[in-house]
């Protein structure tokens, strides 16, 4: 058994993070540190209109009055915000119109990540916006989508070409004063994806954004704004990776979703940022504000997340259920192995009548990982007939990891029904041995058990990504039971 354990351990250290490479490409970086001048510089580089700069400056001035919050169940060393580079962009021709304008090095990078940018090579039915460091490199299938009136482009382009839409919806769900990291993002965000689905349109393909951090010492601050007009439907997927580095890197994004009357938005995340090495050195700080509003009646927003990466994950994809009969869903699998930490969950704010929300959270902790579910279900006084069901499960591998659940329930309407269930279980040596005795290796046994445990969430992912997510779960737990 000793020998086995050693073997398993070497496998983990060698079979590690697949996406840890660095792309050697000329990158334009601005000096590190954050001042009003830096904010102006970012805005100037993007040739932004005055209103955009004003928004940034307001946010920046507000941010100066704020302190990084400490309430999460996380241990985070102090972050020196003056040591971070706030803008880094691979040098290429401005606004590549065709693929031949995109640097071959970049194409190769995304190919290697399994995200080919050539449309004919891509998974059928998936359009991609590829973001490297601070800028969007290429958005595929734009023309096809444009024929249906769907706008899918980088955030910078949206600011230039669809200023009315951006101005109407930007910060309407996450105000620039919202929280420390959202405010920081509002000041320095560099790019991201923008998407608008017009009335009555069912988006025929998966839309996705792939985020890649490449340059060292940079933070990535992108914004996603997703608007589903009345009676429209879209399924959106976000993926992310980063090179292996010894220093921590900050990723502080903002995602806003607006669902008008009768619209449905599915937002899925497969988060695989570099988690740090097995001693907890390096890795991404993933501090993201994600929030959607079901603005119109009968609208629906569904968040699905599979979080396997990052040194620290700190986020609560949430739904404001303002329209009557609107629905919010949150399905989450979060893995913390080695020294990874996660404090994640959701907020469901019931404002409209007969609003429904479902929360399914599956935490998996291994090694020295710390995994917390934190969730708020709030039912306001007028939310007649509101319903919530929450299921929070924790699975532990080994005895040095931790799982914690912090449910907050605030109900101001007596007709509301709020249910909360929680379980904690452990993968036992006896279960592993039972599998071994049937010829199944320990790694495969953990894979079977974990995927069984997470199936309810994985099944919510678009099919093309479910298999990927399943593999990712198994890989991220490799070697966690000796």
């Amino acid at each position: 058994m000793e020998k086995d354990q050693d073997k398993v351990l070497t496998e983990v250290t060698s079979g590690e993070y697949k996406y840890g490479f660095v792309t050697d490409i000329e990158t334009e970086v601005i000096p590190k540190g954050l001042t009003e001048d830096v904010v102006r510089l970012i805005s100037a580089k993007k040739e932004e209109p005055e209103w955009m700069l004003e928004f940034r400056l307001k946010a920046f001035r507000h941010w100066l009055t704020m302190k990084m919050p400490t309430w999460a169940h996380l241990t985070i060393p102090e972050i020196d915000f003056q040591e971070i580079i706030y803008y880094a962009a691979p040098v290429q021709k401005k606004g590549p119109d065709s693929l031949s304008d995109v640097d071959p090095e970049l194409l190769k990078t995304f190919d290697k990540l399994g995200i080919p940018l050539e449309e004919q090579k891509h998974l059928t039915g998936v359009a991609v916006d590829a973001v490297m460091d601070s800028i969007s490199v290429k958005t595929t299938f734009r023309e096809t989508l444009a024929e249906m009136g769907i706008i899918f482009c980088s955030f910078s382009e949206a600011v230039r070409e669809h200023p009315t839409l951006v101005q109407k919806y930007l910060a309407s769900v996450v105000p620039y004063t919202d929280n420390f990291f959202a405010t920081l993002n509002s000041a320095v965000f560099s790019d991201g994806s923008f998407c608008y689905i017009p009335k009555g349109v069912r988006c025929p393909m998966e839309l996705s954004t792939y985020f890649r951090i490449n340059t060292s010492n940079t933070g990535q601050f992108e914004r996603t704004l997703l608007i589903a007009d009345e009676e429209s439907y879209v399924s959106y997927l976000e993926g992310c990776t980063a090179p292996m580095r010894d220093e921590n890197q900050l990723h502080a994004a903002v995602v806003e979703i607006i669902a008008e009357r009768g619209a449905e938005v599915k937002y899925s995340t497969v988060q695989n940022w570099y988690p740090g090495d097995k001693n907890g050195k390096g890795g991404i700080y993933n501090f993201v504000t994600k929030r959607g509003i079901c603005k119109g009646d009968d609208s629906k927003i569904s968040w699905t997340q599979v979080e396997t990466g990052s040194a620290v994950t700190w986020k609560y994809p949430s739904c404001i259920l303002r329209g009557n009969n609107s629905t919010g869903e949150f399905y989450s699998v979060a893995v913390t192995n080695n020294y990874q930490q996660a404090d994640t969950g959701t907020k469901m704010i019931h404002i409209g009548k007969n609003t429904k929300s479902t929360i399914v959270s599956k935490g998996i902790s291994a090694g020295f990982g710390q995994n917390s579910y934190r969730g708020l279900v709030k039912v306001l006084g007028k939310a007649e007939g509101a319903r919530n069901f929450s299921q929070c499960d924790s699975l532990l591998l080994g005895d040095k990891c931790g799982a914690h659940t912090f449910p907050y329930i605030e109900v101001d309407n007596p007709t509301a029904i709020v249910e909360h269930e929680a379980t904690t279980s452990r993968i036992g040596e006896d279960q592993i041995f039972y599998c071994n005795q049937r010829g199944i290796s320990t790694e495969d046994a953990i894979g079977l058990i974990v995927n069984g445990y997470a199936r309810e969430v994985i099944n919510k992912l678009p099919m093309e990504f479910a298999v990927e997510a399943q593999k990712l779960l198994q890989i991220s737990l490799e070697g966690s039971v000796g």
């Binding site: 058994m1 086995d4 279980s425 036992g428 006896d430 279960q431 041995f433 039972y434 599998c435 071994n436 005795q437 049937r438 010829g439 199944i440 290796s441 320990t442 495969d444 079977l448 058990i449 069984g452 445990y453 199936r455």
Partner: protein, 260 residues
């Protein structure tokens, strides 16, 4: 096919098996009987590679290979099967998925392609009938919420699917009513090919009325103290273990072992 030689094994420095020797030839059925705590399950654990007990002395050769150097899964793939005294529940893992993984791992080990879905399902159906297991059970998670009897049947069902060369049945009869006992025992008989060897660990003689052993061994305090033909089982049934205890204790330094 199996030679156990002077085997000693300890749990937390306490010696449980104290020099056990046993040879099983292809196609033979050996019954191992003995009072609670005599080391029967420990022997099953050592044979299958569960690391609760540590082997301190002796050897086990299986099909010419040193068994003690093989991982538990390798032993399983080589054809050693244990029907667990206490089968384990694995929530979230369906029996179908579990069985498919197990079979295909075994096939891979033997250089065979994975079974096709239809062939796999055909075998599932056929083997389910053999042990009269309810179809609904195989749609559930492994052993989850199964009754004691269903768990035991499920063990034999898995044995039927995996067709082992050496099956170790650890108290498969305990907790079974007479009907279930008959089904399980007949199942074992039907599964067995002429060269399949079986070690039946049991407390009672009644299982051995159906699965007729070639040899009966009495395990007492970590040693085989008596071996004979099937008639020994009857004698034990009639006279209990006390006479064995007395006989064994007379010939041993009994004051050093704790009395149960």
């Amino acid at each position: 096919m199996l030679q156990i030689n002077e085997l000693r094994a300890a749990i937390d420095d306490k010696e449980i098996l104290k020099g056990l020797t046993l040879e099983v030839k292809p196609g033979e059925i050996h019954a191992i009987m003995g009072p609670n705590g005599s080391g029967k399950s420990t022997l099953a654990n050592v044979l299958t590679g569960r690391d609760i007990a540590t082997v301190t002395h002796g050897s086990i050769i299986f099909e010419g290979r040193n068994l003690l150097e093989m991982s538990p899964e390798e032993r399983a793939r080589e054809g050693i099967f244990l029907s667990f005294q206490y089968p384990i529940e694995i929530p979230g893992v369906s029996m179908v998925n579990f069985m498919k993984t197990a079979i295909n791992e075994q096939r891979k080990h033997r250089g065979l392609d994975p079974l096709s879905a239809s062939e796999f399902l055909r075998q599932m159906r056929e083997k389910k009938e053999l042990v009269e297991i309810d179809s609904a059970l195989t749609n559930r998670s492994v052993n989850e919420g199964f009754s004691g009897g269903e768990k035991k049947k499920n063990e034999i069902f898995q044995m039927a699917m995996l067709e082992p060369r050496l099956a170790v049945l650890d108290e498969t009869d305990s907790g079974l009513d007479i009907d279930a006992l008959r089904i399980v025992a007949n199942g074992v008989n039907k599964i067995r090919r002429p060269d399949t060897s079986v070690i039946v660990i049991t407390h009672y003689q009644r299982l051995l009325e159906y699965i007729i052993p070639d040899y009966v061994h009495v395990l007492y305090d970590g040693r085989i103290v008596r071996s004979a033909g099937p008639e020994l089982a009857l004698e034990l049934e009639e006279r209990g273990y006390d006479w064995i205890r007395k006989e064994a204790d007379i010939t041993e330094e009994s004051w050093t072992t704790d009395q149960k």
